[in-house]
């Protein structure tokens, strides 16, 4: 198991490093004018030169990359602007370390995503199992039909309508609000609950059919037949034999889907007005604040890689066979 974990961690690290290189290449080697953006309104050519010097933009790209990577590990001092590790660079527009901005946005996005994962995993597995159990019956048809329907409507339209009708016009669900879990776990929970329920429910529609197919597939497995031939009751078979096997592929899917969830969080943050990483990226996109976008992408990659790692480890717990591979 230890070897397995080590291997996974190493793989994750190598992937992360590559993600950093790729991000750097895309965002810093591309044509852009960071100094011009940072220069502001009383801009003179001298000032641009000075800013470029401050930010090290006049140096060769390879050196810039080394500086960037070094900043991630050990921090940087950009022309008197102190940028502590992990330094993701300096925001041209906001005149702040990117790390500060990401630090602010990070817990918001992670809260949304994690809460969403809990809700949609629960609902997805629950409804998927129910549908599989009542395969071909009206209940199954209703569940599958509704999930088909929900997944077909663009998420952002649903979110807008939900926000306006459920939260604004009729006030059925309290307006979303983020408070740090460290400040007040209770308001953190109540503030995000509405979003989790909505986001999780909509997303679960994607997984209901998957879990259902997976459970049906499991039902057809030889070992379920064996369990039945032992004289085990159906409930016991469903919970102790089928569920465990049916969840394994779902876990894999979960790992794959984290990237997509981060995307979903962008729409969620935007529409529900939460200042997470997606909103941060969009704002920075609008002001061409490339270091911020790059920072968000790098941190996004970290989230994906670590959640993937977590899923892999969980998978290792569920399926004893992976320890060998």
């Amino acid at each position: 198991m230890l070897v397995y974990i080590l291997r996974r961690v190493l793989l994750g690290l190598s992937v992360l490093l590559a993600a950093i290189v790729a991000t750097f290449c895309i965002f810093f080697l591309g044509p852009s004018d960071p100094a011009g953006a940072l220069c502001g309104r009383q801009c003179t050519p001298d000032r641009i030169v000075q800013i470029e010097k401050d930010l090290g933009l006049n140096k060769p790209k390879t050196e810039q990359f080394v500086t960037y990577t070094k900043g991630l590990v050990a921090g940087n001092d950009l022309g008197g602007k102190k940028c502590d590790a992990p330094c993701l660079g300096w925001s041209y527009v906001q005149n702040r370390p990117v790390t500060d901005m990401v630090k602010q946005a990070f817990p918001v996005t992670v809260s949304i995503v994690i809460g969403g994962i809990v809700v949609y995993s629960t609902l997805g597995i629950l409804f998927g199992m129910i549908a599989a159990r009542f395969r071909g019956k009206p209940l199954d048809r209703v569940i599958v039909g509704v999930s088909q329907f929900v997944t077909s409507i663009p998420y952002f339209v649903l979110a807008q309508l939900f926000f306006l009708y459920a939260m604004v016009y009729y006030g059925l669900i309290p307006r979303a609000k983020y408070t740090s879990i460290l400040d007040n776990p209770f308001t953190w929970f109540t503030g995000l609950l509405g979003i989790w329920l909505f986001y999780g429910t909509v997303l679960s529609a994607n997984y209901v059919r998957y879990v259902r197919a997976s459970m049906i597939d499991v039902q057809n497995q030889d070992y379920i037949r064996t369990a039945r031939s032992k004289g085990l009751g159906e409930r016991k078979i469903a919970i102790s034999h089928a569920l465990r096997a049916g969840i394994a592929p779902f876990l894999t899917l979960l790992g794959l889907a984290v990237a997509a969830e981060l995307g979903g969080a962008i729409f969620t943050e935007r529409i529900f007005g939460l200042q997470g990483m997606g909103n941060l990226a969009l704002t920075s996109f609008d002001t061409s604040d490339l270091p911020v976008i790059a920072g968000v992408v790098v941190v996004g990659a970290v989230i994906i890689v670590s959640l993937n790692l977590l899923v892999d480890l969980l998978y290792g717990l569920v399926d004893p066979r992976v320890k060998l591979s």
């Binding site: 663009p154 952002f156 049906i216 995307g263 962008i266 729409f267």
Partner: protein
């Protein structure tokens, strides 16, 4: 000891006896059998009609707009300058209404908007399949270093946040490949072409790894199967093994995947356009229209609802059809 080579294959399949699979029939490939099943599936046929309808709309867009007598010009006189909205939702001149303020015809944008949805959906998923299947085959069949490298690339690409990357890549690609003239002028047509290509590339780039992973898994299990082993031990060239033995057996998962990808891409295109990094004028797309119209969903509902319903219907039809295809290939998961 066995009953002899002639019955070997059927004996292997004996395990399926309990779960009644397709009854053996002479001279029919799994694809043909699946097609036959599809033909009998009423839902699948209905979905095909819906899909066909939108394909026709896309192809016949110029004809449709000329029948409706609408164009892509501004019609400032069509809207109330005070509220910016038209007084009608739909009339004979503008069956799907007009946009706020500018009075641009929405039927025109809807008809032409069908094109990018379908083209993106089909082109991107076809490309994704080609790349994904190729890489999956290479990794799964050749194994060794190739497998390690491809699997690593797959892991790497899947670790990048897709939407964030898309948001970043689009403007950069525009600047890099836009070839502006001395005054920074990028022709409108050129820009929308670039956006189109970038969008497809981004979709393909971040989706092929999923396909490759799946195909690799399939190939790994197929590789151990008797007929492939036999073909290899007989010294059949790799290319022939792949083309003759592997690919035909991958048809099922490939088609099923394709039917999942197309609606997913159509939905993604709409989402990206909503975020402002998808397609832009003069390439109309439903996602764009939705994102513009969603503000007015209560005061001018037709603006948002027509493209929303169109996208939803198309995606629904495509995914139901996909389910039907998947069922046809794999009756075990049949509803």
């Amino acid at each position: 000891m066995s009953l002899g080579a002639g019955t070997e294959a059927t004996m292997v399949a004996d395990a399926d006896e309990r779960a009644p699979g397709p009854a053996p029939r002479e001279g029919k490939s799994p694809t043909q059998i699946a097609l036959e099943r599809l033909r009998k599936d009423k839902v699948a046929i209905a979905c095909l009609f819906v899909i066909g309808f939108f394909v026709l709309v896309a192809i016949l867009a110029p004809v449709l707009v000329s029948i409706a007598g609408v164009d892509d010009q501004l019609h400032l006189d069509q809207v109330n300058p005070l509220t910016g909205l038209a007084s009608f939702q739909s009339n004979a001149d503008h069956p799907f209404g007009v946009k706020a303020r500018t009075g641009e015809d929405l039927f025109y944008q809807w008809a032409y908007g069908a094109r990018p949805s379908l083209v993106v959906g089909i082109a991107a998923s076809a490309l994704t399949m080609v790349v994904g299947v190729t890489m999956g085959l290479l990794a799964g069949f050749l194994g060794g270093v190739v497998d390690t490298v491809v699997s690593w690339i797959v892991d790497f690409l899947l670790s990048l946040p897709f939407l964030l990357m898309a948001i970043g890549i689009v403007p950069i690609a525009l600047q890099r490949f836009g070839n502006p003239d001395s005054s920074g002028f990028i022709e409108e047509g050129r820009e929308s072409t670039i956006r189109f290509i970038v969008l497809i590339c981004v979709l393909v780039l971040f989706t092929w790894p999923t396909v490759a992973r799946l195909i690799r898994g399939e190939v790994l299990s197929l590789r151990e199967r008797e007929f492939v082993q036999a073909a290899r031990s007989l010294g059949m060239p790799t290319k022939r093994v792949v083309m003759r033995e592997l690919l035909p057996n991958l048809t099922g998962p490939m088609i099923v995947n394709l039917t999942i990808l197309i609606p997913a891409f159509i939905a993604t295109e709409a989402g990206l356009s909503f975020l402002g990094v998808g397609l832009k004028d003069p390439t109309y797309s439903w996602g764009q229209t939705i994102s513009q119209g969603v503000t007015f969903f209560d005061s001018y509902p037709i603006w948002m609802w027509i493209p929303t319903i169109s996208v939803s219907l198309l995606v629904l039809a495509l995914s139901l059809f996909g389910d039907a295809v998947s069922d046809a290939f794999n009756p075990q998961t049949r509803r």
